[in-house]
Structure formats: C-alpha cells, structure tokens
Symmetry: C2
C-alpha cells in the first residue's frame, strides 16, 4: 500500500511555498534521498520505509538533545520506542527528497512524545505525518526506564517550548477504525 | 528507540507454548529472519524495520486475497496504505525469526483494516502488534478509490470471519499521548 489516492495542494510558487520554506528550515531535523530499493510495485515509496526514515530522523533528534553515540557509550542509556503512528498523505517518488521536521508534543522525566512531518518540494502540505513515544532506558543486566539527566531534560524542554505550539501541518495520531464515508 | 524496557512472559515449555504454536500456525501470513543490517546501536531490531516487515506481511496478505502481481497488472488496481500504528513490546534480536499473524478487524467495499501480530520463539506474547488501514485504488491518469471485485470481497469476508473474533494477543492502535505513570 502506500500513499493517499487523492491528490491536492500540489506545490506552486507564492505564499504557500514561502511558508513551507520557512517552516522546513526552522524545524528540519533530517533529510534524505529516496533510495531506489525503497520504491515498490506501486512505483512509489513503500509504506514500510517511512518508518525507517522516521527512525533515522529520531537518531538526528537524539544527537540534537545530547543523547548521541558518546552519551550512549558513557551512560549505557538510550531511547526505546514504545509506540508509533503514521498517516500517509501523498505518494513519494524516487526523485523526491524527504525533509523531516520535528515537534516535541510532550515530555516527562523519562519520556518524549515527538511528531515528525515529512515534506517534499512537490507539495505544500506534508506527504506524511508520524508520531513516536520514546522511553529513556538504561541497558544492561536489568534494563529499565531511567530519568533524563538535567542537561538533556533542559534540551528537551527548550525544543518543546520552540515547537509544541506550532500548528500541526497534518493529522495527528489516532486509533485506527473504519468509519463510514 | 525500539522495544519495551520491561521483560516478562519469556516463553517456556507447556501450555503457553502449545497455544502459541497453534495460533501462529493458524493465522501466520509471513515469516522472516532478521537481517544483520536491521540491528541498530541498541543491539536489537531497529524500530523502523518493524514497519517494513509489516509491509512485506501485507504483500503476503494481498497474495492471499487475490490482489497479487497478476491482479495488479491486469486491473491497474492495488492497495494504498492510509494509516499505520505499531506497539513495540519486546526487543527482537538478530537470531530471532519473526512470524507475523494477520487478523481482519474490518472491511468495506474499498477498505481493509488489518492487524498484524509479531511473534518470536522466545516470548509467548507478541513482540510487537501493528495495524494498517488499506484502500483499494485504481492507479493511472486519475488515481482514485475503487471497489473490490466480488471474488476479492469474498476472500476478505472469509478471512475476516475466520480472524476478526480472535482475542487480540496484544494492545490495539490508539492516539499517542503522555499519560502519568
């Protein structure tokens, strides 16, 4: 499967484009080309690879928050993903570049609720939106949840303050269910 | 990220194992080894690859329902994924084999709501649970939703009748939100 059947809001010159440029520049955490092997029999990006891109964007988020490789090596701590949601809104082609923006929707002493919005140059609105619920854990003999150290907590709170109030550019996570249409 | 920090229900001999064997055999739609490149810095299956495995399991579901490559070539129709949810419940290691079971939670003339439960030999309960909302579309000049042909609709209804009533072995999809703990 992969992408919505209805196309709209194709990106053109003017206000929407300017606005997107600003938004993407302000919050962009990760960019990637679409690898040829990510294209499936529907001739666009296979649904399964959006999650991989979001996972790589989450690595970039970890770097930004001070949860990078050296932190992980020194502390034995890392993030585990508890839960994930994705909306597929437009088809992505092999020639597209994916720009992923992050918003911190919530955080507590051990958890981060992050939203990731996927953009391409061809659409003013996101081609996909996703969310992750992340838990800070100490790995070892007895793996378990651990509180963020103060500098990381401060970085999370700063990014949350900068991004939590942004109007979501697409739909948020929800329970999947068939609704009459 | 990737996997829950709390481990329980490690699989042992006896009733739970027997029950799992029956369940997996009855409804298994797809199995795969864990590719070495799917393991990340946390030394287990990267979260992003669960969605790829679910996508490949969905391909197997399409084959079973008559939406296979020859159907797609003859009709120009395929499935698009509208929405996806995953719960990550246990860490998956490189030596694990992933067995994916499918349940049809709902269907209408153009849509399928499918649940996928991920099993390994080391746990009696699923290591992950996921759901997809799938739309049948005709690809071409004007891509749009299309009703399933009667034989496919019958296959969907038959699989739904066989699986919709199964007690979910893990949690279902939901809106992501931080809850106090």
């Amino acid at each position: 499967g992969h992408g919505r059947a209805h196309h709209h809001a194709r990106r053109g010159p003017g206000t929407a484009e300017d606005q997107l440029s600003r938004t993407v520049q302000a919050l962009k955490i990760y960019s990637t080309a679409v690898a040829p092997e990510w294209i499936d029999y529907n001739r666009h990006l296979r649904d399964g690879y959006y999650g991989l891109v979001m996972s790589l964007a989450c690595d970039a988020l970890m770097d930004r928050l001070g949860l990078d490789a050296s932190y992980r090596a020194q502390t034995g701590c890392t993030l585990f993903t508890l839960e994930e949601h994705l909306h597929f809104l437009h088809e992505v082609e092999q020639t597209d570049q994916l720009d992923v923006c992050v918003r911190i929707l919530g955080a507590d002493r051990k958890r981060i609720h992050a939203a990731f919005d996927f953009h391409t140059a061809r659409y003013a609105d996101p081609v996909a939106t996703g969310e992750l619920m992340l838990l800070h854990v100490h790995q070892g003999e007895s793996t378990g949840a651990a509180p963020f150290p103060p500098p990381v907590m401060a970085a999370i709170e700063a990014l949350k303050a900068a991004t939590a109030g942004i109007t979501p550019p697409g739909p948020g996570s929800r329970r999947l269910e068939l609704r009459s249409r």
